[in-house]
Each structure stands twice: as structure tokens, then as C-alpha cells.
């Protein structure tokens, strides 16, 4: 049943223009950043190169891709639940013999499939250098995995925001607010007298950073896993409440 839900979501999305616009726009921006990094790196003397080319690329191209996906995920997520509430299409699923957890997983995996091409864009760009420069493929794999995990977190947050309201625009706003909060919460540490690493731990970019420099830590995997599951459970709870309230 999850596969059926996923198939419908992916099919419905790819016949609309939004994923294609996001992919095209994303590629144009990433290509521009990619070329800038190459130009800057090739202009440096050997002594001035403090980091490797791969590290320059992962920190800049992959890092910026994460920001792009942070904005793209709520846009793709809004039509999954919010739009369906708005025009009454969700009644089709509510009246069908389907468990709510199946609905949530189906929609989440569908969204993840839609976002995955965006996660692969930086890798595709960087691989253009495969025959002309020395690249650290293990670091690239780690960066891609980190980016994909961050994208899955954005998707889970977007899906939860989409379940909160029947106004798609409001859902996007809520999702972006939550994601921005999760981005900047680490800076709260600077304003506290004592060193409180909890805020730092809560922010996603700290965990992505380790992946981008090629280090896969269990604590980072646990962070992404925990928050993805947390927001999916909240979504499931919200849909159940819709039936009860």
C-alpha cells in the first residue's frame, strides 16, 4: 500500500511544473557556484591552498545545495496534505481502508523521491571534474549522504507543516520558519553565559558540516534519524487528530 501511495505522489508531482522548475533553477545556481569555486581554487598558488579541491567543493556546492533544498522541500510538501485538505481530496484517502501511518510513510517516501534528484545535483556537477582533477570520492559519498539526510529532515518538517493547515501558503511559511529556527538555534549558545552544547546539537547544519568534510559520525546519523522520526510521528498524530476533532 505504501508503494501505491508513493507511486501516485511521484506521478502527480512529475506531471506538474514545480519539480522541473526547482531542478532547473537549482542546477543553474549550483553550476554558477561550482564554476566560482573552480575559478578561485585554480587561481591560488599551491602554497595558498589550505584545503583540498574536494573539500572546497563539498563545503561550497553541497553546502549551498542544502540551503536550496531547505527552501524547495516545503514547496514540494505543501501539495501533499495541505492542498488535499483545501480541495477535499484527502477524503478519498480518509474513507479508504488505509492506516494513517501508511499514508504518512507513503507521502514522506514520495517526497523523498522527488527531492533526491536535487540532492544528486551537486555530485553530478563535481563529477564533471572526474577526469581532470583528483577527487576524494569517499568524501563526496559522505557529503551526498549528509545532504540526503538533511533533505529527508526538511521533507519531514515540510510534511508536518503541510498537515497543520489547509492553506498551502501558510504551510510553506510554517515549514520555513521551523527550518530557519533549526538552522540558527546553534547561535543561541553565543548569547548564553555557560557553554550549552544542546543548542548546537539541535541545529542541522552542524551535523551536515561533519558529513561535508567526510566524517560520518553515529551521533549525526542519530540526530537526523531522531528528528525525521519525530516529525513523522507528529504528522501521524496530527492526521489522527483531524479525524477526532
Amino acid at each position: 500500500m505504501i508503494g501505491i501511495m508513493v507511486g501516485r505522489e511521484v506521478r502527480s508531482a512529475f506531471v506538474t511544473s514545480l519539480p522541473w522548475i526547482l531542478l532547473t533553477g537549482g542546477q543553474i545556481i549550483l553550476a554558477w557556484i561550482f564554476l566560482q569555486v573552480i575559478e578561485r581554487f585554480s587561481g591560488l598558488e599551491a602554497a595558498g591552498r589550505t584545503v583540498t579541491l574536494t573539500q572546497e567543493l563539498t563545503l561550497n556546492v553541497f553546502g549551498f545545495a542544502a540551503i536550496l533544498i531547505m527552501f524547495a522541500a516545503p514547496l514540494l510538501a505543501m501539495r501533499l496534505l495541505s492542498s488535499e485538505f483545501q480541495d477535499g481530496r484527502f477524503d478519498l484517502i480518509s474513507a479508504a481502508p488505509v492506516r494513517m501511518v501508511t499514508v504518512v510513510l507513503g507521502k514522506f517516501i514520495g517526497l523523498l523521491i522527488l527531492i533526491t534528484p536535487l540532492c544528486l545535483l551537486p555530485l553530478v556537477n563535481v563529477l564533471l571534474l572526474a577526469y581532470s582533477a583528483e577527487l576524494d570520492y569517499e568524501q563526496l559519498a559522505a557529503a551526498t549522504l549528509g545532504l540526503w539526510l538533511a533533505a529527508a529532515l526538511f521533507a519531514a518538517v515540510g510534511l508536518y507543516a503541510s498537515s497543520l493547515t489547509a492553506q498551502p501558503g501558510t504551510a510553506v511559511f510554517i515549514a520555513l520558519s521551523m527550518l530557519l529556527l533549526l538552522s540558527i538555534i546553534g547561535r543561541a549558545e553565543q548569547f548564553t553565559a555557560t557553554t550549552l552544547s544542546l543548542f548546537e546539537w539541535l541545529t542541522w547544519n552542524e551535523h551536515l558540516f561533519w558529513c561535508l568534510i567526510g566524517t560520518i559520525r553515529l551521533s549525526d546519523l542519530a540526530y537526523f534519524g531522531f528528528f525525521i522520526l519525530f516529525f513523522l510521528l507528529l504528522t501521524q498524530r496530527r492526521l489522527t487528530n483531524r479525524y477526532l476533532q
Partner: protein
């Protein structure tokens, strides 16, 4: 008749507002029940509860003995639901959409093709399989809405204002389809249109302010309670009561009257007498049922507000 659906003391509140209360109904196999009522009477809420889209605040819904709240998946397999606005995906084509609906209701891969072909044939969508839903007319969308509700051959079909917004020809086609479907399943149909309910239903329940205030069978040979008469300009009640064969008459508007005839006088004789008296007869309509009276009494209450 075997009872398919039993609703006991059903109620639903939204905060402090009670949308539905103390609804008790039962529905036999193959029966068509019309849920009639003015806008805001609680019809849609009632149907959403019956389809399992909303949870009741009080009461119980049993479908074939299965409690909808306790065993929702099992009960929903026997339900088909067409909401007021058909739940369609405009970006899909008709065949894709029906396939998705059939899969949602867990039809096996083997059954899919035949089920889709059958509902398309029944709902007049044979030539529309590859058409995008977004390009379909209102009538076709409504037909597709019904097709998704019956694709898994449910025992109970719930239709919320299925002919709303259709032209008279489309309405007639859809009513014919609903009567055909009634041979295989029980149907609950909500409407605020009395003629629609009279055209397709065996039984009618009138909802008013969230309560059932009338519940009876519709039969064609019900007694006539009186006649509504419209005469030419300048007619008076005195002229009408002066005619023989009239038990009583009251004016209900300008040149409009409600008339009770003697038992031995039929409508043809009454019409002749009106004509002979030189009164122009413009309308003569029987008032047949308690339903009409109950419904129009309620509409009257609404309009006086």
C-alpha cells in the same frame, strides 16, 4: 429486509456547537435512503461520520454488524463515498485515477483491469480513459466521482449531493445510474432538493438542526392531502368556496389557494367546475405526502428567520 447499516444515538460536536445529535437510523439491503434537509442541517457531517472520515462524539455506527469506530479498516472495505466535491486529481488521467482508487481499496492486480472497465462502462466513461481529469466537464467529474466510489463493489454507497451543479439532462442520467446501482448496494444520498429525493429514494429522513425530524417510506400511492390551486388574476377565496364539492379552502398567496375536496369529487371534476364558474385555472397540483408538508414547514421556518 436484512439490516445493513445501524446507527445508534449518533452525535457530533465541534467544540460547543452540536452539529448532529441523537440520530437513530437503520438501512436495509438494497434500500435507497434520502437524507433531506436545508443547508446547514447536518447532512454532510452525518455522511462524513458514516464514511469514517470523522469520528462521532457519541453513538455507534455498525455496518453489517462491524463497528466502524472499532474496526475501521474492515468496515471501510464495504463503503463507497462520494463527497460533495468529488476527490479527483486533475493532473492524472481517468484510467490512472481509477487504478489508484481500486488499489486503495485493495483490489488484486488480476481484478484491476476488469473493475476499471466495468465502472467506466456503468458510468459512461468508456471513451474518457486517457483524458486528463482536469479537462473533464462537471458532469463527467461527477460520474468519475461515482465510479471511484463503486469500483470495489461496496455494500453501502454514500453520496453527498451528487447532482449538485449539473444541468437537467445530466441530473436525469445520474439519477438513472443511482437507481441502477441500488440493485446491488444500499445507498444513502444527501440532498437539499425534495424532487431529487422523491425521484430516486425509497425512504427519506429529514434532518433539521442536527436532528432527524421525519423518517418514512416514499410510496407512489400515498393519500392526497389536498390540492394547490392557482387561478387567474383577481380571483377571490369566496369565488372558490362557492363551488360545490369543496370541503375547505385557504388562501396561501395572491391567486393561490390550498383546497380540500369532498371524497366523491376528483381533480377532473373540480377543474371542470372551476372552468364553468369562469375562473381561470392556471395550476392544479396535488399535495400528496407528509414529507412535502414536513419539508416545506421546515423551509418555512428557515425563511422566516
Amino acid at each position: 429486509m436484512e439490516t445493513l447499516l445501524r446507527i445508534t444515538n449518533l452525535g457530533r460536536s465541534f467544540g460547543s456547537y452540536s452539529a448532529l445529535s441523537e440520530v437513530n437510523l437503520s438501512l436495509g439491503r438494497g434500500e435507497v435512503l434520502g437524507l433531506l434537509g436545508p443547508n446547514g442541517a447536518g447532512k454532510t457531517t452525518c455522511l462524513r461520520l458514516l464514511s469514517g472520515v470523522l469520528a462521532p462524539t457519541t453513538g455507534r455506527i455498525e455496518l453489517h454488524g462491524i463497528d466502524l469506530a472499532k474496526h475501521p479498516l474492515k468496515a471501510k472495505r464495504q463503503l463507497g463515498y462520494l463527497p460533495e466535491q468529488p476527490p479527483l486529481y486533475p493532473e492524472l488521467c481517468v484510467d490512472e485515477y481509477l487504478k489508484f482508487c481500486a488499489q486503495l481499496h485493495q483490489l488484486s492486480r488480476r481484478q484491476l483491469a476488469s473493475a476499471i472497465a466495468e465502472v467506466k462502462q456503468r458510468c459512461g466513461l468508456e471513451d474518457s480513459g486517457q483524458r486528463l481529469i482536469g479537462t473533464l466537464s462537471k458532469g463527467f467529474r461527477q460520474r468519475l466521482g461515482i465510479a471511484q466510489a463503486i469500483i470495489h463493489r461496496p455494500q453501502l454507497l454514500i453520496l453527498d449531493e451528487p447532482t449538485e451543479g449539473l444541468d437537467p439532462l445530466q441530473m436525469r442520467t445520474l439519477r438513472k445510474l443511482i437507481r441502477e446501482l441500488a440493485r446491488e448496494c444500499s445507498i444513502i444520498l444527501a440532498s437539499h432538493l425534495l424532487p431529487e429525493v422523491q425521484a430516486v429514494c425509497d425512504r427519506v429522513a429529514i434532518l433539521y438542526q442536527g436532528r432527524i425530524c421525519f423518517n418514512d417510506y416514499l410510496t407512489t400511492d400515498q393519500p392526497i392531502y389536498g390540492w394547490r390551486v392557482r387561478l387567474g388574476d383577481g380571483s377571490t377565496l369566496m369565488q372558490l368556496t362557492a363551488l360545490s364539492g369543496i370541503t375547505g379552502a385557504v388562501a396561501i398567496g395572491e391567486d393561490r389557494y390550498r383546497v380540500l375536496l369532498d371524497d366523491d369529487v376528483d381533480s377532473a371534476q373540480f377543474a371542470q367546475r372551476v372552468m364553468r364558474a369562469g375562473l381561470q385555472l392556471r395550476e392544479l397540483v396535488p399535495e400528496r405526502t407528509d414529507l412535502e408538508r414536513a419539508f416545506f414547514d421546515l423551509i418555512g421556518v428557515e425563511s422566516e428567520r
